[in-house]
Every structure is written in structure tokens, then in C-alpha cells.
């Protein structure tokens, strides 16, 4: 084992890490936004809306993420051409990002739904009694309280997504793991680079979940 080749490869791997973090942040933001819309649909009194959202969540929770990523990469340009009649190349990055957002939204939806349901019913009554409409009640009163309670769960789910971003190797996107692996392969030291990548993933995920645990304690007392 010789780890000395890792130092000169760091800048290249950092580029991969930047890609990983970009996917993570945008995926979480989009996933939470779409998940919140889905949660509001699921909780709506309109049976059609709640059933559509329920079907979405159950579907995406029943298929592997890897399948969603490859399906989006290969099928979406096809579908777009069929819909618009034009070639619309969407790059690997966009297709992966959309796949993450849509897949994670199913999980975020359930977290947000539980968060909304944990707010006492009387809060909604009081907000309506002041003359607010549905949008104001949710945006100003219910969601801010729900998100405060959900923060630890949302972060935990984001740590899982951080690891799952590595699945983009399937469509050739250069994230951190892919960057490390390909550099190791070129130099002929794949094991050292994979061990290093594993250490980095472990350090980041483990310290993030320690932080989440501390946050959870602070929010409950």
C-alpha cells in the first residue's frame, strides 16, 4: 500500500467532491420543495389530489434509485423528443439531478407530512380564525413550525442522499467516488484510492450524524 499518490490527485478529487455537493444541495432543495407540495396534496381533502400524491410516494419508494437514475438518463430524452418532436439533449448532470429530486421527494414527503401532522390542530384553527387563507395558514404558521421540528429528520435523509449520489457513476458523471476511482485506475493503485474515498465518506457522514443527534437533543429539551 502506498498512499503517497493521493496528495497530487487531491485537486482532481476535490472537483469530484464539488460535483457531489452540488448534486446533494440542489437535490435536497428540490426534493424538499417537491416533497412539501406532495405532502400538502396527501393531506388535502380533495381525494384525487391525495390519491395521486399517495401513488407517487408508493411508486418511488418501491423502486431502486439506480433504476430511476438510469431510466431518466436513457428514457427522458426519448420521451422529450416524442413529446416535442425535437432533439433535446439533457446532460447527465440534469438527468441525475431530476432523478434525485423526484426520488427523494417521495421520502421528504413523508417527513413533511408527519411534521405537519405533529402541529396541534388548534394552531390551524387560530390562523383561520384570524382571517388567513389556506396559503397563508400553511406558509406563515404551520410549515415554519413543522420544519423546525423536522430539521433533524431532513438532515438524516440528506446524509443518506449524500452517499447515494455515488450512484451517478452508472451514467458516467464524475462525482467524488468516480473521480477517486478513475484516478486510482489510471495510476494503477485502485485500492488505495478506494480506501481513501471510503474514509472521506465515513468522516463526513459520521460527523454530520453526530451533529444531527446534538441538534435533536437541543430541539427536544
Amino acid at each position: 500500500m502506498d498512499f503517497s499518490a493521493i496528495i497530487p490527485a487531491l485537486p482532481g478529487m476535490w472537483e469530484g467532491m464539488a460535483m457531489t455537493l452540488k448534486l446533494l444541495v440542489l437535490g435536497v432543495v428540490g426534493g424538499v420543495a417537491l416533497g412539501t407540495v406532495l405532502a400538502l396534496m396527501r393531506l388535502s381533502h380533495n381525494p384525487l389530489l391525495s390519491r395521486v400524491a399517495g401513488a407517487y410516494v408508493n411508486y418511488f419508494r418501491s423502486i431502486p434509485l439506480l433504476l430511476v437514475i438510469t431510466w431518466f438518463y436513457f428514457a427522458v430524452p426519448f420521451v422529450l423528443r416524442w413529446l416535442t418532436g425535437e432533439d433535446m439533449p439533457i446532460g447527465a448532470f440534469t438527468s441525475c439531478l431530476v432523478a434525485f429530486m423526484m426520488f427523494e421527494a417521495a421520502y421528504f414527503c413523508e417527513i413533511v407530512r408527519a411534521g405537519i401532522q405533529s402541529i396541534p390542530k388548534g394552531q390551524m384553527g387560530a390562523a383561520y380564525a384570524l382571517g388567513m387563507n389556506y396559503g397563508q395558514v400553511m406558509r406563515l404558521i404551520i410549515l415554519p413550525q413543522a420544519f423546525r421540528k423536522m430539521t433533524p429528520l431532513l438532515l438524516q435523509q440528506s446524509i443518506i442522499l449524500f452517499q447515494d449520489t455515488s450512484l451517478v457513476y452508472a451514467v458516467g458523471l464524475m462525482d467524488f467516488l468516480n473521480a477517486a476511482r478513475s484516478r486510482g485506475d489510471i495510476i494503477g493503485q485502485p485500492h488505495e484510492f478506494l480506501i481513501f474515498a471510503g474514509l472521506v465518506y465515513f468522516t463526513i457522514s459520521f460527523s454530520a450524524s453526530l451533529l444531527v443527534k446534538r441538534l435533536q437533543k437541543r430541539l427536544t429539551v
Binding site: P120, Q123, G125, A126, A127, Y128, A129, L130
Partner: protein, 244 residues
Amino acid sequence: MISIKNVSKWYGEFQVLTDCTTEVTKGEVVVVCGPSGSGKSTLIKCVNALEPFQKGDIVVDGTSIADPKTDLPKLRSRVGMVFQHFELFPHLSITENLTIAQMKVLGRSKEEATDKGLKLLDRVGLKAHAHKYPGQLSGGQQQRVAIARALAMDPIVMLFDEPTSALDPEMVNEVLDVMVQLAQEGMTMMCVTHEMGFARKVANRVIFMDRGQIVEDCHKEEFFGNVDARSDRAKQFLAKILQH
């Protein structure tokens, strides 16, 4: 001001309200009492359309709630409501609790809303707490803020749903004092409460409900003075709560 006409309401098979009819005129204070589960909260929530009802109509200041064209948020913004468990917004400061609906619903400027909110906070004796959060106040203080929050909307009528029953006994009076003062200033009020001292002092009329029906609806003097003429259920109820 409020006219409740033959209102009936069901939860599935279960009938919560049966043919309720009564009237609250401008400046009147009406106390609603009755055993637990008799439908008092449900009735009062129907008055600002927080609960839908299936039959009858309620007209608030000329606006019919049963009319599907009625702008319900607008109607609710003119009806103040105070809840048993205060329901202040815990993520907002006291000042924000007092101003958020003024700004977002009535479109008042921040200065105007803050000015109004702080004046009302002063009126309920809590000016010094403006910057705090609801969790830092006692129950009695929170309920006084809740009353100020409702008043900030310049309501034409105030509804109270057991505003003192979740309070420790030593805090009941500070809230009742605010309500008495409001009544004496001529506010139209409909109060679900078992505080018979309050009813004696400021109520014009007393409504007694049982199993979803309005069993008694009469003037205070008649209700407390002529107990023999009351229904058996009302007598039992009065005997129970007047023991204390």
C-alpha cells in the same frame, strides 16, 4: 349582529347540533354553558365558519355563512376568537403574534400594525413582554395576549371558547378582568364559559345547551333568579357547578 337559524350539524351519523336557533344583538354579552360534549364549542365554531354545518344558516352582520358565495376568510377576519388553549403561534414573538394577521390579512403597514398591537398589549397589562416568545409567558399572560391579538383585527364581535378552563386557578381572574372590561365597553360577546360569576356580572343572556340542543335561552335575571322554572337538566347542571 349574530343570528343563528335552525342550525343542525352531523359528524357522520352522530348529530352534534340539533336545530339551534338564537340571536346575539349588538353590544350584548351572551354566556353559553352546558355539560361536556353538549356541542358548545361546535356551535361557537360554526359562528365563524371554522366548522361547517349541514342545515340552517348563521348570519353575521348581514353576511350569510351558508351562502357559498360568502368570502369566509374575510368574514372570519371580522370575528375575533379566543380559544381554550390560547393558540398563540410559538415560533413568533408576542409582537409578531399581534401584527402578523393585521399585515397579511388587513394589509396594514408594519408601523401601523405594531403601533396598534403594542397599544392593545399595554391594555391587557403586558407591554413589557412584547419581545418575548409565547413559551416564556404564563398561561394567564398568554391568554391575555390572545385576546389582544383578536382585538387587533378590530372585530365586530368576540367569541370565547372556555378561555379560562385551561388556566391555573390563580390566573383565572386576570383573564376575566380583561373580559369584563371588554363587556363594559360595549363589545358584542359570545362566551362559552362555566364562570358563573362572570355571567352574573356582565352577561345579558345565558344559553344552556344539552346534547346538541339549546335547552334554555333567557335573560340572566331569569336564569339565575328563577331557578325553579328551569329544565331539570339545567337545574342539575347549575347545582353541580354552583356547589364550588
